[in-house]
Structures are given as C-alpha cells and as structure tokens.
Symmetry: C2
Subunit: 290 residues, 2 copies
C-alpha cells in the first residue's frame, strides 16, 4: 500500500494509491491520518470503495497519479530522530569499528520539506552544504520500551529522506544539531510505502546523484542497526507515536568525504532514489535573504 499527501486546490489531503489514482482519505495530510489511529482501516476502506466518501462523485475517483503533486507527506511529526554512522560498508572502509550503540540526534518538523521542493539556503549555510541519502522509517503505533519484534510490527512503513547537512555548522561544536536542523532543508517522501510491501532488511538499494553524477550507492541490508532495532532502541528512552519519523543514516559517498570535499551550489539538483520507494529531486537555491 502507498500513502501520500497530495496537493489540492484548497491545500493538501492524505491519499491512498489505487492503481493509477490517488484516493482521498479525509485527513489534511499523513501526519493527521496517522495520529487518528485507524489509518490502515481508513485506507483499506477507501481501496475497497466502502469509505464514507466513496459515494461522492469526484471524491471517490480521486486524482490520476500522473496529475497529482506530492507534498511533504508528514508535515507535523512530534519527533524526528536521526541515526548517524549506520552503514557497515562505509564504517569499515573508513577503518572504524562498528558501533555498539546508535548515534542519535534530532531534527524538527520545521526541518522537513517536500519531495520536489526547491531548497532555499540562506547565506550563512551556503559554505559546506552536503547530501545524505537515507531510508526514513515512519512509526505506525505507540511504542514504549518495545522489543525488536514489537517495534517491527509498529512500523507503518518507509520513505526516503535527504539529510542535507551544513557541515561547517555541524562541526562548530560537539553536537550536530545546528548543522542538521536548518528549516526546510530535509526532503522527505515522496510516499509512504507500508511495511507489508517492502522490507529493508532484505535489502533496498539507495542512491544519491548530484546533477546526474552518482555520489552514493548503498543498500539497507548493510545497516548496522536495522529499522526495527532503531525504533526499539529509541523507545527505551522516549515514547514513539504514529507519524514520528526515524532517519536511519547514510551510506558512504557524502561530499565531506570526497578528495577534495565537494559541496552543493546554487542550481544543483540532488536526487535520492530507491527501488520501490520512488525519488526525491530537489534543486538548491542560494538565497540572499536570511
């Protein structure tokens, strides 16, 4: 099953994909749909044509996939928690030991932006702007101190993220937040592919291209901490709720690691892609405004 937040004349709405159409689900976006608790039932009813809105002409027909504009699927997560240093191939190629515990930091809902949105970068962040293709996990149940099996069952599904990072700010102090939480710099989406349709532990190839040049090429089967392991770990210290997002880290090939380092410039287009999860394509715009 694929869920999305699509743009409408009046704003946005949550939708489920039925073959070549997006069917509306009576919520303004996926954050609201997931928070309501019965998102799976709602989506299945829409697919079966038995939802309350199904009789309304136009509404039930939905929007053709080719015409739909996909917005930021989850505009209002209460928690966006990110894992660093999580791809074994990258860690071992750097000569480091595999970590015993996941390295975690936070972003805000304000940090997120849509799958094809332009990324406006103020002057202070234009120096060392880097890409990080990632698998994003979307929580689908309330989880407290969950074991790995409970955590796995509590995952709503997966999407892509580009953890765009401002390296000079990230390196200013020991804590990465100020390099990781610039407003509207982390593309997320394009859709939520539910966990029954895709399995990152079996392996999902994730790539990142800048202006068509391949920069990253990783596979989720080499994650040190799997999606379920991360969800379980985080739930030891803080409750996770439907709509919360966990970013699972990036494979090798970021700009900071190149010789010499390469960073994003005005006009660059970054594409993050994965089989079964679609693509994020975002163009960088250096703004003069702060």
């Amino acid at each position: 099953m694929e869920l999305a937040t699509i743009r409408t004349a009046g704003g946005t709405c949550a939708a489920v994909r039925s073959a070549d159409r997006w069917l509306p689900l009576g919520a303004p976006h996926l954050s609201a749909l997931l928070a309501a608790g019965d998102w799976r039932t709602t989506a299945e009813a829409a697919l079966a044509g038995t939802s309350p809105g199904a009789g309304v002409a136009g509404d039930a027909e939905g929007v053709p996939v080719g015409e739909a504009e996909l917005a930021l699927p989850l505009p209002a997560p209460a928690k966006v928690i990110c894992c660093g240093l999580n791809y074994a191939d990258h860690i071992t190629e750097m000569g480091r030991d595999l970590p015993e515990h996941p390295t975690l930091f936070a972003k805000f809902a304000d940090t997120l932006t849509g799958p094809t949105d332009e990324i406006a970068v103020p002057p202070a962040a234009q120096g060392e702007l880097d890409w990080e293709a990632e698998l994003a996990v979307v929580v689908g149940a309330e989880l407290r101190s969950a074991g790995e099996e409970e955590a796995r069952a509590g995952i709503a599904g997966y999407m892509l993220a580009n953890d765009i990072s401002v390296r000079d700010w990230q390196k200013r102090t020991l804590q990465w937040l100020q390099g990781k939480a610039w407003d509207a710099t982390t593309p997320l989406g394009p859709v939520l592919v539910t966990a029954d349709s895709i399995d990152p532990e079996a392996g999902i190839g994730i790539t990142c291209e800048v202006n068509g040049d391949r920069r990253q090429n990783g596979n989720t089967k080499t994650l040190v901490f799997s999606a379920a392991a991360l969800v379980a770990y985080v739930s030891q210290f803080t409750v996770l709720r439907p709509g919360d997002v966990i970013l699972t880290g990036t494979p090798g090939g970021v700009g900071m690691g190149m010789q010499p380092p390469q960073y994003l410039s005005h006009g660059d287009t970054v594409v993050v892609e994965a089989e079964g999860l679609g693509r994020l394509a975002n163009t960088i715009r250096f703004s003069t405004a702060h």
Copy 2:
C-alpha cells in the same frame, strides 16, 4: 508578571498571578496561551479585571496562591533546545575550553515534567542519573534570523529547569540526545516570570541541592552565551515561536564532575532554586517497570 499552569478539577488552566491569587486566563495551559499570540493583552486584561471571564463569579476570583497546585507550565513546546557548556566553571570541570559557538542539542515536549512531580526512572536509566540546574528561556514572539536586540524583545520570560541527564547513555556515542531525552525527566517551572520583571544579564543566582546538600551555585551573569544571544543564534537556523523553550546550560557542580562521581538514587530529592524564579523540588523514584 507571573504566569503559570495550575491544576483544576477538570485538568489544568493558564493563570496570571494577582497578589495572592491565580486568575484563570481561558487557556488550558501556557503553551496554548502563548500560541494564541496575544498572551500579554489577555493577562493584563485579567489583572485589570476587564477580561471576558471577569464577570463570572468564582472564575474571576481565581485560586488562592497557597492552594494552587502548579503543573508543568509548558506541556507542548514544538522546540526545546538546550545549550551545553555555557558556564565557565562547568566547562572547566568537564575538562573543556571556552567555546566560540554554543553547543546545542534538543529535547522533546515528552521530556518535560512538572515543578514538583516525582521523577520515575526505569531500570536502564538508574546507573548514572545526574542533576543540572538551569535557567530556561521562554520565547514570546516569532523569531527568524533575529539579531540580539530583536531576540531580547522576543523573550516572554524565564523559568527554571533541571536538565536531569543519564550520563552513561549520554556517553555511549558522540551525540548526547539519548542521555538527555528520557521521558518526563526534565522538571520545568514553577512559573513563567515575564522578561519585564527579571533580567538574567544583571545576574540571577541559581542553586541546586540534593537532599539538602548544596551541589551547584551559579549566577546567570557568568553565562558565556546570554539568553538573548542564544535565542538570536538558534533563530539563524530555525524559526522560534511563542512557547518554544531554550535551556541555557548548567553551572559547575554536577555529579559527574565530583571526585568520585555521585549520582541520584531512589528517594533523593533535587531542589533547583533561584531568587525571583521560585523552586523546583523533585523526588527520584526508581521504578521496576520499563
């Protein structure tokens, strides 16, 4: 002016202090009051007896200060951003140099708890539980890329926080989040003292006592980064809105810095106090439940 969230029969309500009474303000808590935008006008109207609720008997009279139970004043901040290493003496005891930039990390709304609430600590967090008395800054206006003067004018006021930290989890990786964001472990309050009533740059003495033994004794005039400087700095990368909270760091005297280190145990009471800001008094309860 002093604002608080007080417990009522039906839940909580935002209130303003008028001499020996808390007057209700028609919002369930200070997060809602501040988000509504006209919090100052609302509070001033209540104090002047001209608020819409003033004609309602009982309501207008409010609750005697001695009878009021103070709840977590801000239960729903979208952003809780914390500064580490901001008092020269604490920086020294942690073995670090004076910083050029503030070290920032995040907590969640779920991390917060009330000014006299018991702190339930699950088994995994009972090993190295530490105290950190702090001045908390409450944002009162929407701020983007603010200069220091605009930031200062956008501060609603101040309260106290105890940035209770799980040191072994904090030290597991480079990023502190997992030691700083255990649910319901950061007491905040007891009241919001508005910025026209108190000035941390002029100096506010802040102390922490564990079971009556003085552990910390700092003064906000020795902050490396002032409240206004921190607000201005954060607003460079993410918008701040009314009700967001910034913790300004802790002075020397934490348990981890003692020889040998000392940590909190079941039954300990931690008191954070400051002239003009009141006190937080929280008892530690080691729970068997996860």
